[in-house]
């Protein structure tokens, strides 16, 4: 009659017959107890699936290391990291990744200098100033920027921005560090903007009202109250933006110029780490030194982004805004 009567309510030794009489499926494995058993199996399966993310992360780390480590038999860690010559196909080859490292750092720093202010300013505008209808247009627009495939942005950089830069600044090539930074900045703005906006929005309204009631203007309220209160969120956003631009591949592959040289000006063509991996993997002999060196570059990229993500998570977790009390 009542399928939810459990065996705990009616003691099994006394009540089993009664339960069986009243409600035959309960003890037959088809009804309540059966679904309990199924519940345990399902739970285990779901647990295994959830664990998969962690296992994949571990597998990525292991496989990158296994394929990347053999290069250290060929060159020392110091020579690999600080060697100034990347000529993997020469005879004898030289595997110094310093020019690639310098290019990656250069491109990332320059792009962050552009994207962080723009992204944060857009976030402030969306969260604090824009009228609701403007916000309803701007937010999807920012999301669409995030959705643009990187290969399309790289393509745009090649066919439009490169000739423009070349003519405007009278350069030998428009495919250079500056162009790559511009395109990367455009790509990381949505990351920075969305996360900053969330942080700004989570600042409690009474803080703003208090500031305005004391006679501060809207701008003063934003600068002295809202931004300091959401600073941890904004820095998380910037760090994730950085981590995004370090690893971005297609843009730097297509517009950075591809020269494995240490850049001396922002208009030098460069070859950041992801570009090197993408461009050279196809021609690197399977499990040769070059192949292992490219995997070692992958390890470096992996560690870089992982460290940045962990810093971001740490800041976000530690300075979590909980009401007005933590200010």
């Amino acid at each position: 009659m009542f399928p939810f009567i459990s065996s705990r309510i009616i003691a099994p030794e006394k009540g089993e017959a009664a339960v069986r009489a009243r409600c035959p499926d309960i003890l037959t494995g088809k009804g309540f107890l059966g679904s309990r058993k199924k519940d345990v199996v399902v739970r285990l399966l779901l647990f295994a699936t959830a664990l998969l993310s962690l296992l994949i992360l571990a597998a990525i780390l292991i496989f990158l290391f296994v394929e990347g480590a053999p290069i250290l038999k060929r060159v020392s860690v110091g020579a690999f990291l600080f060697g100034k010559e990347w000529y993997p196909t020469f005879e004898p080859p030289s595997f110094g990744i310093f020019p690639l490292l310098a290019a990656s750092v250069g491109v990332t720093v320059l792009s962050t200098l552009i994207s962080a202010p723009l992204g944060v300013m857009t976030a402030i505008y969306i969260a604090e100033i824009a009228a609701p209808w403007v916000r309803n247009i701007l937010k999807p627009a920012v999301e669409l920027i995030a959705a643009l495939p990187s290969v399309v942005i790289g393509f745009f950089g090649m066919v439009v921005v490169a000739p423009f830069l070349q003519e405007t600044f009278d350069l030998p090539t428009g495919l250079n560090l500056f162009n790559a930074s511009l395109m990367l900045a455009f790509m990381s703005i949505p990351t920075i903007c969305t996360i900053s906006e969330d942080a700004i929005r989570s600042v409690p309204g009474d803080l703003r009202e208090g500031s305005l009631a004391l006679g501060a203007t809207h701008l003063e309220t934003i600068l002295r109250v809202v931004i300091p209160a959401s600073l941890s969120g904004i820095s998380t956003a910037a760090i994730l933006g950085i981590s995004r631009s370090i690893g971005e591949t297609m843009v730097v592959l297509m517009v950075a110029g591809g020269a494995a040289l240490i850049p001396e000006s922002v208009f030098d063509p460069v070859r950041p780490i992801p570009a090197s991996i993408a461009a050279e993997m196809a021609e690197a002999p399977f499990r040769g030194d070059h192949y292992h060196a490219l995997f070692a570059l992958g390890v470096i990229l992996f560690l870089f982004t992982m460290i940045f993500n962990m810093i971001a998570a740490y800041i976000a977790g530690k300075h979590k805004q909980v009401g007005a009390a933590t200010l």
């Binding site: 505008y125 745009f156 992958g298």
Partner: protein, 297 residues
């Protein structure tokens, strides 16, 4: 300025300062508005540019024919097919795994070290660059599992790449299901799994679907993850099995635009391909965004 000069003369000073503060605020807000405008303009310029240059290349035969004359003429049909197979396959893989993970994390798991560890895994997976997924796919699926450069390797690599997106949106969707639904179902005697399967999942389905659409969009535009695992420059036939290599739209653009032999000759095809790709990607994303906005209302 007025206020500063008259310094001590009573009422005018605060009024002047107030005017200065208002002026400063106006200036700053203009700068903020300008920053927001730059982003929108950049998006508009890119999209309009691709439409303006791409629509000339688009024709019925461009979409339905394979390339001919060593890629300089003909259409991009095999690339469209390849991108569809890759992104839908990846979505199917990630939808199954992502929904199951989210159900465990949201409905079963008790907060603790293990859940923290799993969330750490998901968060970090989301931050890994796509080229690293490509390397992993090459070492793991292509080499270790001996799937070779194939549709299957590409689907699995893209599947784990979009997995965090699917887990995130599924968790959000589950969290939005009112607790009273679960309680009502449990009170009627349903088991936990019956409750989840019969009540919670149907209620969360639209949100999970939004995540799946976003995942398709992301997978469709992804290049670096498939360049070592699935995509090839040219293959004379459509993929007949999971172990065939495929052509794909993003890789096609990259190869024609920067690694091909006749870059200038194939420019119209590049524009056309780029247009087809962004229509596909922005279309799916726009659909997801609008659908989500409707759900939240």
């Amino acid at each position: 300025m007025d206020g500063l000069k008259r310094g001590g003369f009573g009422d005018d000073a605060p009024r002047g300062r107030a005017r200065f503060r208002a002026w400063k605020q106006g200036l700053a807000f203009t700068a903020l508005r300008f920053a927001a405008l730059i982003n929108c303009l950049a998006l508009a310029v890119i999209v309009c540019f691709l439409f303006a240059n791409g629509w000339k290349a688009i024709s019925w035969s461009f979409i339905t024919q394979p390339p001919v004359n060593s890629m300089t003429q003909g259409g991009i049909f095999p690339c469209i097919v390849g991108t569809f197979l890759l992104s839908l396959g990846a979505m199917a893989v990630a939808l199954a795994l992502g929904t199951a993970s989210a159900i465990y994390l949201h409905e079963y798991a008790r907060p603790g070290l293990l859940v923290k560890a799993i969330k750490f895994g998901v968060n970090n997976l989301a931050g890994i660059p796509s080229i690293v997924f490509g390397l992993f796919g090459l070492a793991f699926f292509v080499t270790w599992f001996k799937f070779g450069v194939s549709l299957l390797s590409g689907i699995l690599t893209l599947g784990i790449l979009i997995l965090p997106i699917l887990i995130g949106s599924a968790e959000e969707a589950l969290a939005a299901v009112p607790q009273s639904y679960r309680e009502a179902s449990l009170a009627l005697g349903a088991s936990r799994w019956q409750t989840i399967y019969g009540v919670v999942l149907p209620a969360a389905a639209p949100g999970i679907l939004t995540g799946a659409i976003l995942g398709v969009g992301r997978a469709a535009g992804e290049t670096a993850a498939i360049m070592f695992t699935a995509a090839v420059y040219f293959i004379p036939h459509l993929p007949g099995s999971l172990f065939d290599q495929v052509m794909a739209l993003p890789y096609h653009i990259y190869v024609l635009a920067s690694a091909g032999t006749q870059i200038d000759l194939t420019r119209p095809i590049q524009y056309g391909t780029a247009l087809v790709l962004i229509v596909l990607v922005l279309g799916t994303n726009l659909a997801a965004i609008l659908y989500r906005a409707k759900l939240r209302r």
